[in-house]
């Protein structure tokens, strides 16, 4: 049998798992591993400029491909810098494996140089973690880590490896296992047939059905089944922030996003529905508004791979635990075999009502912003949608711009909308876009950001230069931490505590030039479209568009909280539903 060092075993194991890119940053405890990286070609290492970016890049890679994102960092500060990205992936159930170097086994616990208890620090934000104590266990541990990260409800897995374990001098047999056995972990595939039948009955009898699809449909590759279900039932469908693209956003059965900044029609339809089919969604507090007032007349069917998500905040009448694709396949079969058909008359009534809401409230029909005066952030996203033909990968940062990108760009395919929905991590956008661009070299990959968020991982412009990543950065510059400012307007009498920069913003155009990229500044409505077109015509360039917009704009519609129900929304600064 082949004999290899621990470091070589680790990298060979990654190659066996089909890892193309390893996003990382070197340091003392990881140097044996880095030497192993150097001596092979199968796995390409991408050197980021901050470990947080390594995790976000791996995350973007994972979200856009469905494969496991892989990260390598050193001990201590390398490991702790990775924490924000691990937590981001954890909250959105993204498959990721993070390998961290650790101090020598015999130094663990002695407060050795660059020692951090990585397994301990990461414990609440990982699906699982391993501390490898024996080089002969590396291959098996990697196999387990990838299996755990990518199956069931996906999530990040940490492998912490003390330096002595990867010592090039000590050699071990290498034989990569083809299977793992974990007696305590058996992801559920199929749902319970009896429950699925009950769901079918309810859906066929529904007079005001509503389909509420979340990130689980994207992660679980079940969009096709979802589309077929919507068609069969002739039911309206809403996507969550994480689920945008699960059902095509520009299709007429899509009523848009639901929740705090969702469309009024989606939230109204949820509120008035008699049967809600929630699939791969988790009744997040940003969706439900006040849980006790949530959808008073609805029977709730909830399909999720994670039993702990079911009846967590809102009780399900028909809980179904299973992989969304398998459950939807079975549900479709059952519905097709039924003699009963959806209630055409009731549905016609329902659609009539929904179309009335649309006419009255839809953001595409009546913009939620004034179209005069300064350029508006919403207009920027709409123009971006047109210029990219709605077919770009949009990687968003966090803030108002994120909500505008969710509202005014329409996602017709899954995995095109990449955002930190659960943790809301500013700084996510640019590194995530790098990971997406690595996976889709010829695609239009856009980072929609704000002048606040971009400065949280702006060092990655250097990584873009090193790997020729032609990411297009659309910075919606409202000269403020806009989302914070909006809340301060609404709840604190416009006392802008620490949400303004006092003219300290850098000249982004010059900054881009310093990195060898292209910077463009836009201030006028008239030049927006053309400049965007110029930007996207530069196929091989990293381009940053610094677009100055109205700083007074708020994101609407917006749930009225606390105490509000799904249908209670602000339409603009003064009007409400």
């Amino acid at each position: 049998m082949e004999k290899l060092s621990g470091g070589d075993i680790l990298i060979r194991s990654l190659a066996e798992e089909g890892v193309e890119y390893l996003f990382g940053y070197p340091g003392g405890a990881a140097l044996h591993i880095y030497d192993a990286v150097f001596r092979q070609k199968a796995v390409q290492h991408i050197l980021v400029r901050h470990e947080q970016a390594a995790t976000h890049a791996a995350d973007g890679y994972a979200r856009s491909t469905g494969k496991v994102g892989t990260v390598l960092v050193t001990s201590g500060p390398g490991a702790t810098n990775a924490i924000t990205g691990i937590a981001t992936a954890y909250m959105d159930s993204i498959p990721m494996v993070v390998i961290s170097g650790q101090v020598m086994s015999d130094k663990i616990g002695e407060d050795a140089f660059q020692e951090t208890d990585m397994v301990g620090v990461s414990r609440p934000i990982v699906k699982h973690s391993f501390l490898v104590r024996d080089a002969s266990k590396i291959a098996e541990t990697v196999k387990k880590a990838f299996y755990i990260a990518s199956t069931g409800r996906p999530g990040p897995v940490v492998i912490d490896i003390p330096k002595d374990i990867t010592n090039p001098v000590d050699k071990f047999d290498f034989d990569y296992p083809d299977k793992v056995k974990l007696r305590s972990y058996t992801p559920i595939a199929k749902g319970h047939t009896g429950q699925i039948k009950k769901a079918a009955q309810l859906l066929l009898q529904a007079k005001r059905p509503m389909i509420y699809a979340g990130g689980g449909v994207v992660q679980g590759n079940a969009s096709e089944q979802l589309i077929e279900l919507v068609r069969l039932l002739n039911a309206p469908c809403t996507n969550t922030l994480m689920g945008l693209g699960a059902y095509p956003g520009s299709d007429e059965k899509c009523v848009g996003m639901l929740g705090m900044h969702g469309t009024v029609e989606a939230n109204m339809a949820m509120h008035h529905a008699d049967v809600i089919f929630a699939v791969g969604a988790r009744f997040d507090d940003r969706v439900t508004n006040t849980p006790s007032k949530f959808c008073p007349s609805a029977k709730i069917i909830h399909v999720d791979i994670d039993p702990a998500s079911i009846s967590k905040t809102v009780a399900a009448d028909v809980p179904i635990v299973g992989a969304v694709d398998a459950v939807l396949d079975e549900l479709l079969e059952i519905i097709k075999a039924e003699d009963a058909k959806p209630d055409e008359q009731a549905l016609a009534q329902w659609w009539k009502q929904i179309n009335e809401w649309r006419e009255r409230y839809s953001i595409t029909q009546t913009p939620r912003y004034e179209t005069g005066g300064m350029l508006k952030p919403q207009e920027v996203v709409s123009a971006l949608y047109e210029v990219t033909n709605g077919d770009a990968y949009i990687c968003s940062d966090v803030g108002q711009h994120q909500m505008f990108a969710a509202q005014y760009y329409h996602y017709d395919k899954p995995r095109r909308w990449i955002n930190s929905g659960g943790l809301g991590t500013m700084g996510f956008g640019l590194p995530a876009a790098m990971g997406v661009q690595m996976a889709h070299r010829d695609a239009n990959v856009v980072c929609v950001t704000g002048e606040g968020s971009i400065q949280m991982c702006i060092q990655e412009l250097s990584t873009c230069a090193q790997y020729n990543l032609p990411v297009k950065i659309i910075c919606i510059n409202n000269q403020a931490l806009g989302m914070v400012r909006q809340w301060q307007d609404m709840q604190y009498d416009s006392r802008y505590s620490e949400s303004l920069y006092e003219d300290s913003l850098p000249d982004f155009v010059k900054l881009m030039e310093a990195y060898g990229h292209v910077g463009m500044k836009v201030t006028k409505r008239e030049e927006l479209k053309q400049k965007l077109e110029e930007c996207f015509a530069m196929k091989d360039k990293t381009v940053f568009m610094d677009i100055y917009v109205d700083p007074n704009e708020h994101v609407y519609p917006m749930h009225i909280a606390p105490e509000g129900s799904m249908r209670d929304m602000w339409l603009n600064k003064t009007e409400r539903t």
Binding site: V119, G120, R123, P124, K127, H128, S129, L131, I148, L182, R183, S184, Y185, D306, P307, A308, S311, K312
Partner: protein, 163 residues
């Protein structure tokens, strides 16, 4: 309501901290906790007591089951079960008190396991509420030190928790 949750988990470093961490992370309370290896050296058995309504307990058991290290789990309070806790207690016992304490220990079927001229060390086993009532019987004032093992439990009859 008090619940006794008993589980088998991988006998590996970090497993216990994951279980305990889950409780603090999700804002659940652990009242008692015991862990020890089982006849199968690769498994530990952990028993904990916690309180909460059905919804909370359901969430706790689901989240425990989600931990990769947890192999099998049972809520013993859902069925007939035997609950035991061991307590060692030092009681001040001088003069006439000595006979009084001794009588009390007998009633509770405890044992005096160590004696000095002024102190009895007493061992009592039983369900937690029995141990609680011993305090009242002997008089809280005379108790100088208490150590309790936390609850262990097992289902009655044929029902077992094993792989």
């Amino acid at each position: 309501m008090k619940r006794i949750i008993s589980l088998l988990m991988e006998n590996e470093p970090g497993a216990l901290s994951r279980v305990v961490g889950l409780f603090s992370q999700r804002g659940y309370n652990i009242e008692t906790l015991t862990v020890a290896p089982t006849e199968d050296a690769s498994l530990s058995r952990l028993t904990l007591t916690t309180a909460g309504d059905d919804h909370k307990i359901e969430q706790i058991t689901k989240h425990l089951n989600r931990l990769i290290d947890v192999v099998k789990l049972v809520d013993l309070t859902e069925g007939a079960h035997i609950e035991r806790e061991l307590m060692l207690v030092k009681v001040r016992a001088t003069g006439a008190q000595r006979a009084e304490v001794k009588r009390c220990v007998d009633i509770f079927r405890g044992q005096i396991v160590d004696v000095t001229s002024s102190v009895y060390t007493i061992q009592i086993t039983g369900a937690s509420d029995k141990l609680d009532s011993f305090f009242q019987a002997v008089g809280e004032a005379s108790i100088i030190e208490v150590v309790r093992s936390g609850v262990s439990g097992i289902a009655r009859g044929e029902k077992i928790l094993s792989l």
